[in-house]
């Protein structure tokens, strides 16, 4: 029965190493990097949460919207005359910010537009018919196939091989990561500052938009009670379109920030895992709850990097899934609870 013995020895020899020291040594560096990733997750998570809040639908294809956003900002940069090269461009601070803003707007337009288009083409016919939620999910899966494969095969043919295809895009580096200052011995780079600042700005703007404006009130009203909201003169269709638009635009912005942190991440399959993580973040904070999505994103980003330090880099993706399953088991409503409608104005 040597087989049984080998089972024992393999397990004992440490299948999964557990390195507490690494977490302790790099705690602050991990926290900062985690917040960077977390703010990207948070922005994408808003898209899931808003759509869920209004339609009770998990927009499974949102990850592909994010992926399209990455390609959108990349294409914008190419249109601006940048060509992919190994070295970072030195444009000076002001021009870099301007270029980044233009690229971000490009990403937002592509992602926002495709999110609205997706809603029009795929979801609206189903909603008109009152299809069950399973049908919506399957449609979303189909749509995500279509978008991925479009970028995988069709886009390179349309652009003469400049965009899309099997391989990741050669990065266009506008910002080179440079250490600016350090907190508790952990270095903070300019990339991290840009990402976190931009994410906070966008998050606050979205939060304010949902809280104070007329449109935001419409979204909250439909989330709370679609029938009454319609009776009160809120156009449900317009609210739904707006919801998809906001989600898409934020995903487009997140796409630019993500490519700053992970320059080689622009690939047709690059949205999938990030999408699941963002969804996990939305559930963690309480799906349907805007503030919850932001909190959940930050928490998940940090937890993921702690997990990575503890168990090793290859386990990083597992952390998000385990967190998702644990949250759903212990507190399915998430930390802040599900409520887009109840957010105070």
């Amino acid at each position: 029965m040597s087989a049984v013995m080998t089972v024992g020895t393999t397990l004992a020899s440490g299948v999964i190493s557990f390195d507490l020291g690494s977490l302790g040594r790099n705690f602050w560096a991990l926290t900062i990097d985690g917040l960077t990733y977390g703010s990207i997750y948070a922005l994408v998570a808003v898209g899931y949460t808003l759509v869920y809040g209004v339609l009770r639908l998990i927009n499974f294809a949102h990850s592909e919207i994010f992926m399209l956003g990455m390609f959108g900002q990349y294409a914008t940069l190419m249109l601006l005359g940048f060509t992919p090269s190994g070295n970072a461009y030195q444009e000076g601070t002001v021009m870099t910010v301007v270029y980044l803003l233009i690229a971000m707007i490009g990403g937002m337009i592509v992602a926002g537009g495709s999110a609205v288009g997706l809603e029009r083409v795929a979801y609206r016919p189903l909603r008109k018919r009152g299809a069950p939620s399973l049908v919506f999910l399957i449609t979303a899966i189909g749509a995500s196939f279509i978008i991925q494969e479009f970028v995988h095969f069709v886009l390179p043919k349309l652009t003469g091989g400049k965009l899309g295809g099997v391989n990741a895009q050669q990065p266009i580096r506008l910002v080179e990561a440079q250490v600016q200052f350090s907190i508790f011995g952990a270095d903070v780079t300019n990339v991290e500052i840009i990402i976190v600042l931009a994410a906070i700005l966008l998050a606050v703007a979205t939060e304010r938009f949902i809280s104070i404006t007329k449109f935001g009130r419409g979204i909250r009203a439909v989330a709370q009670d679609p029938v009454t909201a319609t009776l009160m003169g809120v156009s449900r269709e317009r609210v739904i379109m707006l919801t998809f638009l906001i989600g898409g635009v934020l995903a487009g912005a997140a796409a630019l920030l993500y490519t700053l942190r992970v320059p080689s991440g622009i690939i047709y399959s690059g949205g999938f895992i990030l999408g699941i993580k963002a969804f996990s973040a939305a559930v963690l904070g309480g799906i349907g709850n805007l503030r919850g999505a932001l909190l959940g994103g930050l928490l998940l980003g940090v937890m993921e990097l702690y997990g990575q330090a503890l168990f090793g880099t290859e386990w990083r993706d597992v952390v998000a899934f385990v967190v998702l399953i644990l949250v759903l088991m212990i507190r399915p409503t998430g930390i802040l609870g599900e409520s887009l409608g109840r957010a105070r104005a």
């Binding site: 080998t6 795929a122 399957i138 899966i141 189909g142 095969f153 290859e314 597992v318």
Partner: protein, 417 residues
């Protein structure tokens, strides 16, 4: 409409007539018709029909893959079609089944049993029930905490599960071999001869037309029939009725005294073990498992088979599996079709694009799939069902001036559930 009112009988449509005819047959007659049909399908790799035979890949191998996908589709159909639980991580069970066989019989694995007391000739057969049992247990482990969740949450959690299984296979490299995978997995050693020293199921058996693919296809047909009998009987039992009740309205089922959690768990467990069976077949056929085979996108492909064919209809999902496996392979390596030059490799590459389009279009125009499931009077047996169905169709067909009543009756009945 006007032509239909002149000849009301035509309103039945080919599908309805065929179905009614089939349902009206007695059980033995059904077998009499069915067996030659199955034999004909089984002989496909031997006959190798001119246009249908695949060009780029071996036809027997393609059909063997179809057999495995058909099993997967039947298993997933229990979960998605019968019980209405969207499982996006079904590939996880497929992987667990394949890896169980791999871990027990591959020389690369630390848990290899074939080097001491288990004969390599019998190793696959020994590992098969173990693989089924372990996948069933994993279904239980996944189902117990997650089946209390609402439908759409369940979908994402199972998706996470599928990905975790793959990541485990990838990361636990001192057990699973990581990205290198496990090779030299055992297979049934049957029918050794001078030209086939390792038996007919060995991948080394490349003699046309009875190559290893053909033999695995035949084995999978036998297993499919067994699984269909088991699942079919379950459907007609208390368990099946509970599944349908849960699918249609979980709250109502619970109120009516159906222990919904228990039956959802059963569905999960049975679906998982069928997936494990298919995985074990796969591991035996290719004698090699790597994590990348079990990517989550495959889950979507399995789901596509179920949805395309018709959720809840066993024949439908088998057809769906056939489409999923066969169509891309049909185009692979083909440069012309009926004299028209085509770029077959490109078409085969675009398969996910086409399947995605098919999913979206189907969901909008025909959510019930190609061969939709019909609601049956599960309690009272077939004769009553046939009688009522016939009456309903006749009723729908007779009042010629009001054909409007006939049209929607078809959609609601076969309907999207």
């Amino acid at each position: 409409m006007s032509t239909e009112s002149i000849t009301p009988a035509l309103q039945l449509g080919v599908g309805d007539r065929l179905r009614l005819w089939w349902d009206a047959l007695a059980r033995p007659t059904q077998w009499l018709v069915g067996v030659p049909f199955i034999v004909l399908i089984a002989l496909l790799p031997v006959i190798r029909p001119p246009v249908l035979t695949t060009v780029g890949t071996d036809f027997g191998g393609v059909l063997a893959q179809f057999g495995m996908y058909a099993l997967l589709a039947i298993g997933l159909n229990v979960v998605v079609g019968q019980t209405g639980l969207l499982d996006l991580g079904y590939v996880g069970f497929y992987a667990i089944g394949a890896y169980t066989v791999g871990l027990l019989t591959s020389p690369d694995s630390p848990w290899n049993l074939t080097d001491d007391w288990l004969s390599r000739d019998w190793a696959w057969l020994f590992a098969l029930p173990v693989a089924i049992a372990i996948t069933a247990i994993s279904g239980l482990l996944l189902g117990t905490p997650t089946l209390r969740l609402r439908g759409d949450y369940l979908a994402i959690v199972t998706l996470g599960f599928g990905e975790i299984v793959r990541l485990l296979a990838d990361n636990l490299s001192n057990i699973t071999g990581g990205g290198r995978g496990l090779s030299q997995i055992a297979y049934p050693v049957v029918g050794e001869s001078a030209s086939k020293p390792n038996g007919v199921f060995s991948a080394g058996n490349t003699s046309q037309p009875l190559n290893s693919g053909t033999w695995w296809f035949w084995l999978s047909i036998v297993l499919i029939i067994i699984v269909l009998l088991v699942v079919g009987n379950l459907e007609r039992s208390r368990v099946g009725r509970a599944w349908v009740a849960i699918r249609e309205d979980e709250d109502a089922a619970e109120i009516m005294g159906v222990p919904t959690f228990k039956f959802k768990l059963w569905a999960f467990l049975i679906g998982a073990s069928i997936g494990g069976l298919s995985g074990a077949l796969y591991a035996g056929q290719v004698q090699f498992v790597v994590p990348s085979t079990f990517n989550v996108i495959n889950s979507m492909l399995f789901l596509c088979a179920v949805v395309l064919g018709g959720q809840g209809n066993k024949l439908g999902v088998i057809l769906g599996a056939f489409i999923i496996v066969y169509l891309p392979n049909f185009f692979l390596g083909r440069t012309e079709l009926f004299g028209i030059p085509i770029n077959g490799n490109d078409i085969a590459n675009y398969k996910y694009l086409f399947f995605g389009l098919a999913l979206v279009v189907l969901m909008i125009f025909r959510p019930q799939g190609l061969i939709p499931a019909r609601q049956k009077l599960l309690t009272y047996g077939r004769s009553i069902y046939v009688a009522t169905r016939r009456a309903a169709l006749a009723l729908a067909a007779t009042p010629a001036p009001a054909p409007a009543a006939a049209e929607p009756s078809d959609t609601t009945e076969g309907g999207a559930r």
